[in-house]
Subunit: 401 residues, 2 copies
């Protein structure tokens, strides 16, 4: 049994502390250095951006998680500078961030993971990190999860935190998390970071499998503008402080709690997308394969014509059909259908345009669902996105200065 906890975050599970402080990296001030620390070495799993232009912290964290045999004590994160496209120097800086954190905590540098978000192509001032870290360490506390969640924001309109509980053989485990989305008001920021903690004890292979399973239909099922950053990463730490061991038998309730947290964070990222005014769930049914369902749903979710129509409250089902037709998946026009909310506008090759006013009324809401049936098979997939507003353009067309 899993329940979402509104108020929770990375320090809701037992044995985790966090901090968020200002190290002076952000030009306009504000907190920009976050620490998440487990009392004991935690089992760690991670997924990284598939972008081939990988930022220095991605390179370093990937190495560390391998070298440390999947154990981690801490995650150190800065906002305000992505440390991406910064060459060998950038890698040294990311290594130095982990080494300095490790020195203060008294663990090995390999047991520290690092992430950065902010401007690409600008050197990260390691002296500011070095002088900010002692303050972060002093601030570490169980009640500082929200401070950490705020310190990783760039121009996100709100911090994103979530937690969930599961009862396993009568004992409780907790999963907590925090995330940032793509703010972009200062251009060149487009990073999705998420950090998830649990007090369950989970063997490394099982933790890896759980994270991959859940990321696929949460963080990998959202899109704001189809972009994939140089810095995207999701870290998951399991420190076992609850004393509850997860095995194949208790995998399902653990994954359900993990999925609840990741989905809540993922939807928070979409709701906080640049210029977003609506959350849109795009469901594709009747696909030949699950991959084709996902591919069509992503194509629809990234279509500027679909996103602008939804922004304008226009039940423009022809655009949904046109994108499904060009998505590179099996599609049968004469067996296809489109529904906006509960209202069918096209079915078996025939339009039902008389239903358009009802669909337009539905589109005036904030939480929108659209469904496209491809008319071929029985597989389906849901992807979440936001609408495309003139505000998105204004945000992203601003010059960096």
């Amino acid at each position: 049994m899993t329940t979402a906890v509104a108020a929770g975050g990375v320090t809701t599970p037992l044995g985790f502390k966090a901090a968020g402080v200002s190290a002076g990296i952000k030009v306009n001030g504000g907190s920009d250095l976050a620490l998440i620390v487990s009392e004991t070495a935690a089992t760690a799993a991670a997924v990284f951006t598939t972008n081939r232009a990988q930022a220095a912290p991605v390179v370093v964290s990937r190495e560390h998680i391998e070298r440390a045999g999947g154990l981690a004590r801490a995650i150190v994160v800065n906002s305000g500078c992505a440390n991406a496209c910064t060459g060998d120097e950038g890698v040294s800086v990311a290594q130095e961030m982990t080494a300095e954190t490790a020195r203060l905590l008294g663990c090995s540098a390999e047991q520290v993971l690092v992430a950065s978000t902010g401007v690409i192509g600008v050197a990260l001032p390691i002296d500011k990190i070095r002088s900010g870290l002692p303050a972060a360490l002093r601030a570490l506390a169980v009640d500082q999860g929200s401070a950490a969640a705020r310190a990783i924001m760039t121009t996100d309109p709100f911090p994103k935190e979530a937690s969930a509980r599961a009862t396993i053989a009568g004992r409780e485990i907790v999963v907590g998390g925090m995330a940032k989305g793509s703010g972009m008001i200062e251009p060149m920021m487009a990073t999705m970071l998420a950090f998830v903690t649990t007090d369950a004890s989970v063997p490394r292979l099982l933790l890896d499998r759980a994270l991959r399973d859940v990321v696929n239909d949460t963080f990998n099922a959202i899109t704001v503008d189809g972009e994939c950053s140089t810095n995207d990463c999701v870290f998951l730490l399991a420190n076992g402080a609850s004393g509850v061991q997860i095995d194949d038998g208790s995998y399902a309730p653990f994954v359900a709690a993990l999925r609840t947290v990741c989905r809540e964070l993922a939807l928070g990222i979409v709701r906080g997308g640049e210029g977003a005014t609506k959350l849109v769930a795009v469901t594709v049914t009747g696909a030949a394969t699950a991959d084709q369902a996902r591919k069509a749903a992503k194509a629809i979710a990234n279509s500027p014509l679909v996103k602008t129509a939804i922004h304008g409250g226009d039940p423009n089902w022809g655009r949904l059909i046109a994108v499904a037709g060009r998505a590179g998946v099996a599609f049968e026009l004469n067996r296809a259908s489109v529904a906006i909310g509960p209202t069918v506008l096209f079915k078996d090759g025939q339009p039902y345009d008389e239903n358009a006013p009802r669909a337009a009324e539905y589109l005036s809401g904030k939480d929108i669902a659209v469904t496209v049936h491809l008319g071929v098979g029985s597989e389906e997939s849901t992807v979440w996105t936001c609408d495309l507003s003139a505000e998105y353009v204004r945000i992203n067309a601003d010059y960096r200065t």
Copy 2:
């Protein structure tokens, strides 16, 4: 030797007449019915949308070109209604358009090609086409090419016409063409149509090959918003009225003239894209294969972050690198480079941000070139696009009523 002719169009080659009249299909009036007629049956080649949701006129024209053995006398086109997603009834209407045109011209229906552009999912009123066609026939004239070019517009900001001449063994042949782009001020209109004529005599297989060769690096190398319509098509008619026969020996100058016309029309479509203020040539070099170069160039050209940055005059090279990295092609960050116009901003893994002001100055122009080197091989490709403005969102978010 090929020269672009500014004033020419589909009736510049010998033996073609055209007309553009109002048949009352467009709700707000204006000409909406175009005819292009060759004095004699012309060899015909065509390329159609790859969208699996194909509009009725696409289905009918594809059939006709096959049944008539690659011969055509006329092209009939309406704007104001796409006759797409209209079921079997829509196919009957498209057939009726060709039959009525054929009856008036005294040829077989199979020798008439048909195209439509406008709102999806709305029935095309065949009675209006039927009563408009006699007027179109009466208006047919050598000097009515521009009238035809205007009659196929939906919300294009300007008509698109071009022609070019080639001298072959001392004799001249002419290629002329007209096109419409994606207007979209009335939503659900996103069709690219182009009609090209020549007075050269070209065997069917050679004409097919020429059209495919040229379309690949003209119409298929442009993108406004990554969308592909249900109605897209390019028709090419060669009527031989010049008396000049094209064979393998004279293929090159013929194709050069054809490319000049198609490129001019294609760039006109991009310049007239919804909300466009800049024409952007995206060149990708250093790719492992030509396909990968094209794939990366399309990804960059369709990136909303790249398009908004260019709109805002922001030399945001990090976005270009980030898209190249996520484009699904071979990419080496440490050997990659980015130039905006002639200004290098990133090279061999190192940023040259001190050049940003010069690049920003360049981006204040209207014709922009950006180059991304993938650092892998030696293949390259160029794709043309426009910037993404708040006006695009306003145009496409309007409700259809």
